[in-house]
């Protein structure tokens, strides 16, 4: 079977949620991709770290009139997507800490993140 190839996929998220759709549609790829049994990692860099902020509040009928999709990050574990990496510098220069995130993540410094990138077969950026 062709599908037996196992590749390392890295999803690089560098954009804030809601201002653009990239965060949401990136998540949709990750969910679909989970069915393919590949080795999946997610990196959150720059404003991408804001995607994981706790307490997001909006709905189609209130707030900005857009659905809150942040709970989906919590569902990732159920899909065996458990390797979520946050860039330390991006987190810190935004005044955020691990407590601010709605899921468990590993905080990586530049060397660790560069090493992660180096190991990948496929890097999808959104």
């Amino acid at each position: 079977m062709e599908d037996e190839v196992i590749k390392k996929f890295l999803y690089v998220n560098r954009k804030a949620p809601y201002g653009t759709i990239y965060a949401l549609e990136s998540l949709e790829v990750v969910l679909i991709g989970a069915a393919f049994d590949q080795d999946v990692s997610l990196a959150f860099i720059d404003d991408g770290v804001y995607q994981l902020k706790k307490n997001q509040q909006t709905s189609v009928s209130s707030g900005i009139g857009v659905k809150d999709f942040s709970k989906t990050y919590r569902a990732l574990e159920g899909y065996d997507v458990e390797k979520l990496y946050v860039d330390k510098k991006s987190m810190e220069e935004r005044g955020l800490s691990e407590d601010d995130f709605l899921v468990d993540v590993q905080v990586f410094d530049e060397a660790q993140m560069a090493e992660l990138m180096e190991q990948q077969d496929v890097v999808l950026s959104f």
Partner: protein
């Protein structure tokens, strides 16, 4: 004049450039991803603090809350507003300039 900024200061230079041209007494509204510029503890906190000396700065609360933030997280002196307030600000000022 009302200036509107809808981009994160980390991502784009809109806020920085808006502040270069905003004059004493102008109003600035941070909305959409622009709300990140209003937050305490970020690398851009001093930029806004500087801006507050001459301008009135507003943040759109629905955009703030959508992104998991509250007024507690916002730099002191930045005022809360909503879409109705955005309309009022636009009506009160003679012109509106969007820093896209």
């Amino acid at each position: 004049m009302l200036h509107t900024v809808n981009k994160s200061p980390f991502d784009k230079n809109s806020l920085e450039n808006c502040l270069r041209f905003a004059r004493k007494g102008h109003s600035i509204l941070l909305f959409e991803d622009g709300i990140y510029g209003a937050l305490k503890g970020t690398r851009f906190e001093t930029l806004i603090a500087e801006g507050l000396k001459s301008s009135t700065i507003y943040v759109l609360v629905p955009d703030l809350e959508a992104r998991g933030m509250r007024m507690d997280n916002v730099i002191d002196g930045v005022k809360a507003t909503d879409y109705a307030g955005f309309v009022d600000l636009s009506a009160e000022n003679k012109t509106v300039q969007a820093w896209l």
